[in-house]
Amino acid sequence: MKIRLSFLFVLTLIVFILCVFFLSLFEEKSYVPEKTNNKIENFSIKDFYTDKSLNLKILFEDEKYIIINIWSSWCIPCRQEHKHISNLSSFNSSKIIGLNYKDKKNNAIKFLNELGNPYDTILSDKDGTKAIFLGAYGVPETFVIDSDLNIIKKYIGPINSEIVNEIRNLLNDY
């Protein structure tokens, strides 16, 4: 009897602790990037196909917003998100810019031939230095930027259909 009681006591205590641990797993603990509406500087960058120098502002032409997607042929999540990018481009009037990150040109072309090219323009960031201007730290990442070069929204990691909807709503609201 005595043993039973102490067993139950210890068991409840431990179960309680484990439950709290379990719940705390879902508390926001990760160190997330800073507030997204910070301004980025205009920077010059080369076009992927023509190697012509462009700058970010030119890309807007008359558009108010553009979507920049950082991708790479070696990045596995990019493959998964590619169909969502295509989706986004078919639904959306805004320009979608691809930023090809630390990639070999041939591999990147192969990737696009295989999966399709949803981008209006592709920029090349061979050494990964341009992505720093955007405050990105990996692939894939997706940015919504307005013509004053404010980052409206930033998605780290592959996007999914929910995010596609979110971006569409976001751009419709503006």
Partner: protein, 619 residues
């Protein structure tokens, strides 16, 4: 190709695990002679895991960026030493190292426990295999170190510069040796419970493993503090940071276990308590891994947050806890032996254990209380160092006194309590010295006097004990080391001085005690960072010291690190750290005086040496 070898050896190791579990269980049930197959299987498993680890190592050395882990954590320009340490510096690799050590220890346990009963050995191996299976599955499902990237990138992402430090590079494997050593204690005590094998023989065996884990854990914790002191440049060695606490908790448990297993060895009592401690040690190591790896803890050493990993470890942890709880309560019926008297070595050891448990509880509560509060009330808090200092330091006073008396008591019953003339003189001497020290400081005289005299008294007694033939050398060494450690920590904390100023180049600031001058700054480009070297003059009573602290500005990933300039001698450390203030000409300069730092490191090392001496004994 080479990645595949690593991957497949892991799969084979998993299959072998299942085989070993089957054989060991059969062996436990039906046999009196150890099945030779068992040794072969465990050996084979070790070789496979070793192979798999080697392929990862090779991938890092060759900078094979087709491997995701290598791509994320390495770079071609990294020195070879950091390429190698990079293999376990990341999450995936470190788990593989855990596994490697786990299988190595199982093998060693199986080979060197020949004198123990066969059913006990095979059952221990059975429990050990459960842990191994858990880890292999964990590696496969959430953190496979052999994931591929196709096509292969040309260059890796590099390693955070702050992690490029020799002490940090060897710190994880050593800490893991300590953690994993406790897994053997865990399985062996579960097996001992089931087989009713809690004998002297068993105590001797478990004591050896306790010592091994304890030594590695001690060295691991020390290396961690060395890293914090030299690399982070915060001018301290212990911050009561959650990640630090997590490694300290199993240490308290192991220290308690170390002492109480000798009671079991000599007197065959306290079985139940020994088992509880043994189980707790491993649970604490595992929960530590969980807390650190899942990113629940909010700390300076944040690892990536990944709930999936957290859930896996949590489930695994709950299974192990449940298993041990059930086994413990099912088989726990020891005879009570009440033969010892109050004034005896047993009592001293039990009191030691009580203190250890108190310290453990304080650290545990301080570490997980914020997690609980956040889940329950959504309030975000942190528990500061004063909490730990307030609860632990006052309790050190009786702890140190009992420690100095306890070693000389006899087993069962102390024949005579002889108060020797010499000891009284020592006590008075230590009180006198401490009073002088405390008076010199002019703060909280009574409290400091008592605290320092307790520590000094222990030091004197330990020095006297060096001549005592009744005690073992391991005990003498580690007790002496502990007393030096405590004294240096106390003196360090009360004699530390710190001044910080913001200065422009060429400026000078007179403070109450020193004058600090920021002479000049020079810029140079070194490999992958820009170095800013400042020249700082600190003068005190015509004594001038010139420091060259450095700032390193890294491009990828964009980081600034401060390199302290530390001038060390046996009794005193002087250091200057500078910090960079963006968009201003100011440098934030901090000058610190830290007495007895070297003594702290030396005594911590001596503590470990004491443990090693304890291993030497032949049975």
């Amino acid at each position: 190709m080479i990645n595949l070898i690593g991957n497949y050896s892991l799969i084979f190791a998993l299959i072998i695990s299942l085989g070993t579990m089957f054989f060991s269980f059969k062996n436990f049930k039906y046999n009196n002679i150890l099945d030779f197959n068992l040794i072969v299987l465990v050996f084979l498993q070790f070789i496979l895991i070793f192979c798999s680890f080697c392929t990862l190592l090779l991938a890092f050395i060759n900078s094979d960026f087709s491997n995701l882990a290598v791509y994320n954590n390495s770079h071609t320009t990294k020195p070879l030493f950091y390429k190698i340490s990079g293999s376990w510096g990341n999450h995936e690799g470190s788990l593989l190292l855990w596994l490697l050590v786990l299988s190595l220890f199982s093998l060693i346990f199986l080979i060197q426990s020949k004198k123990l009963s066969v059913s006990f050995r095979s059952l221990s191996i059975f429990f050990q295999q459960i842990i191994i299976v858990g880890f292999i599955l964990f590696i496969f499902y959430t953190s496979n170190p052999f994931q591929l990237i196709i096509p292969t990138p040309n260059e890796g992402l590099g390693l955070n510069p702050i992690l490029q430090d020799p002490a940090l590079a060897i710190h994880p494997p050593i800490l893991y040796l300590g953690y994993v050593g406790s897994s053997i204690i865990f399985s062996s005590s579960l097996a001992a419970l089931v087989c009713k094998y809690t004998t002297n023989q068993w105590a001797r065996d478990i004591k050896k493993w306790t010592l091994i884990s304890w030594i590695f854990l001690t060295i691991g914790i020390m290396l961690g503090s060395i890293w914090a002191y030299y690399e982070l440049g915060w001018g301290g060695f212990w911050f009561w940071d959650p990640v630090e606490n997590v490694s300290l908790m199993p240490w308290f448990c192991l220290t308690a276990l170390l002492h109480c297993s000798s009671v079991l060895e000599k007197r065959s009592s306290l079985q139940s308590w020994t088992i509880i401690l043994a189980l707790c040690t491993f649970m604490l190591s595992m929960s530590g891994t969980f807390l650190v790896r899942s990113g629940i803890l909010n700390s300076i050493h944040t690892f990536a947050n990944d709930p999936e990993r957290g859930i896996f470890i949590l489930i695994f942890l709950s299974c192990l806890i449940l298993l041990s709880l059930i086994i413990y309560f099912k088989y726990n019926n020891f005879e009570k032996s009440n033969k010892s008297f109050f004034v005896s070595k047993e009592t001293a050891i039990v009191i030691n254990n009580w203190f250890m448990m108190y310290f453990l509880a304080v650290v545990l509560i301080g570490t997980i209380y914020p997690i609980f509060l956040e889940v329950i009330t959504k309030e975000k808090i942190s528990v500061g160092p004063p909490y730990f200092n307030q609860l632990i330091i006052p309790l050190l006073i009786p702890f140190l006194f009992i420690m100095s008396i306890g070693t000389k008591l006899d087993w069962i019953k102390n024949k005579e309590i002889n108060v020797r003339y010499k000891k009284i003189v020592l006590l008075i001497l230590s009180v006198l010295i401490s009073y002088l020290i405390a008076k010199h400081l002019n703060t909280k005289i009574l409290y400091s006097t008592v605290l320092i005299s307790a520590a000094l008294y222990l030091l004197f007694i330990s020095i006297l004990d060096l001549k005592n033939d009744k005690l073992k050398w391991s005990q003498k060494t580690s007790h002496l080391a502990f007393s030096i450690l405590i004294i240096s920590i106390i003196l360090n904390s009360i004699f530390s001085e710190e001044q910080s100023v913001n200065l422009k180049a060429g400026e000078e600031k007179k403070l109450s005690k020193y004058t600090i001058r920021f002479e000049k700054i020079s810029k140079s480009q070194i490999e992958n960072y820009t170095s800013l070297k400042a020249e700082i003059w600190v003068s005190q009573n015509n004594n001038e010291l010139i420091f060259y602290p450095e700032l390193r500005l890294y491009k990828v990933p964009e980081t600034i690190t401060s390199e302290a300039d530390i001038k060390t001698n046996l009794f005193n450390d002087n250091l200057v750290v500078v910090n960079y203030l963006k968009d201003t000409d100011y440098l934030n300069i901090r000058y610190q005086k830290k007495p007895f730092m070297l003594l702290i490191w030396i005594s911590a090392l001596m503590l470990a040496v004491g443990g090693i001496l304890g291993l030497r004994k032949k049975y």
